[in-house]
Symmetry: C2
Subunit: 224 residues, 2 copies
Amino acid sequence: MYKKVKVGKKILIANEECAARNSQFLAEGKKLCLNMISSPGSGKTTILVRTINELKGKIKIGVIEGDIQTDIDARKVRATGAPAIQINTDGACHLSAAQVSGALEKLPVSDLDLIFIENVGNLVCPSDFDLGENGKIVVLSVAEGDDKPAKYPGIFAKSKVMLINKIDLLDAAGLVEFDIKKVKADARRLNRNIKIFPVSARTGAGFADWCDWLAEEVKELRSE
Amino acid sequence: MYKKVKVGKKILIANEECAARNSQFLAEGKKLCLNMISSPGSGKTTILVRTINELKGKIKIGVIEGDIQTDIDARKVRATGAPAIQINTDGACHLSAAQVSGALEKLPVSDLDLIFIENVGNLVCPSDFDLGENGKIVVLSVAEGDDKPAKYPGIFAKSKVMLINKIDLLDAAGLVEFDIKKVKADARRLNRNIKIFPVSARTGAGFADWCDWLAEEVKELRSE
């Protein structure tokens, strides 16, 4: 086990060095970069597609898509007109900073204001690997249940924003049990600065506040 | 990277040796052991609770619960009267055979017919770690979307059974888009022997077939 930890640390250090280079590259261009993390099926891609459409003409967005296999998600993003680079991890459970570095070379970064990284669907492993982003966005769908911040604290503690998605399912009485107050309190106990936006990527509910926040972050970064 | 692969392999081999010992121990007692794997929030614990209640008086079930933190799930299982041992992985993204071996020592195995292992919520990493089980059960909730077998093929290729959970959400017209035929076809392309049960742990739909299958598996194992 000693050996495992030693090598594991070396990999993490190599990743951090590469993440720092990504971060510097993005900071020089004043590009906002957000790393989106969640379980599979929480709605990350649908959120991205609606976000891109709502901000069209205001903020230029590019996407780096991480998946174990397929380019389903990159194709969905490209259908909006936004550029998207697909990374296939071929079995790996998270994106690495080196993979993101390669994707940044392929994206038309100088034309963009905001770069979203959609990580591999996994609430655990991606939280340990910095990619050079300005912040992490954790997405939790109400269908996943309200005990997730307590059971998977790592990612909630590290995220700048929590999107609570699929809130339209709460309107169908009795279908989904999800105590939104409890989830907010649990997340804030782990991370008192976390911004929380309840949204529905299907209906658009809550997107005005989320998109306003994004626009404000882009503006702040530019004026620095 | 070479070193990483070499050490990673050693860890996998150590795990396989321990899994083989678990498997032998369970086989000697003719105990059926099933390893349940899914994303967080697909409904594994709720499925287990209903399964235990439906099979009460027929099949004696014990549960090994794997979570990063908390004993929320073990407490839910114990409320049914069934024994449950909670393992906290403290950050690790999957259960190991050694952890399961320790839990088997604490469970009253000789009194049981069937042992469920509920793995850490993660559709990726747990699929690489055998625990000594007779088979893996992958759970996919309809809220997660119908592209999951294509995007996370590993676990669907390796599972004995797929439970498609939360099918009651499909009745609420337009709320959830999920092509059940496509998911079945995609899963069978990866694994032509996979058994598929669409269920709702909330309403009990589909549980008769799933519980009949479990009872049949327990009977077959005993008669071997």
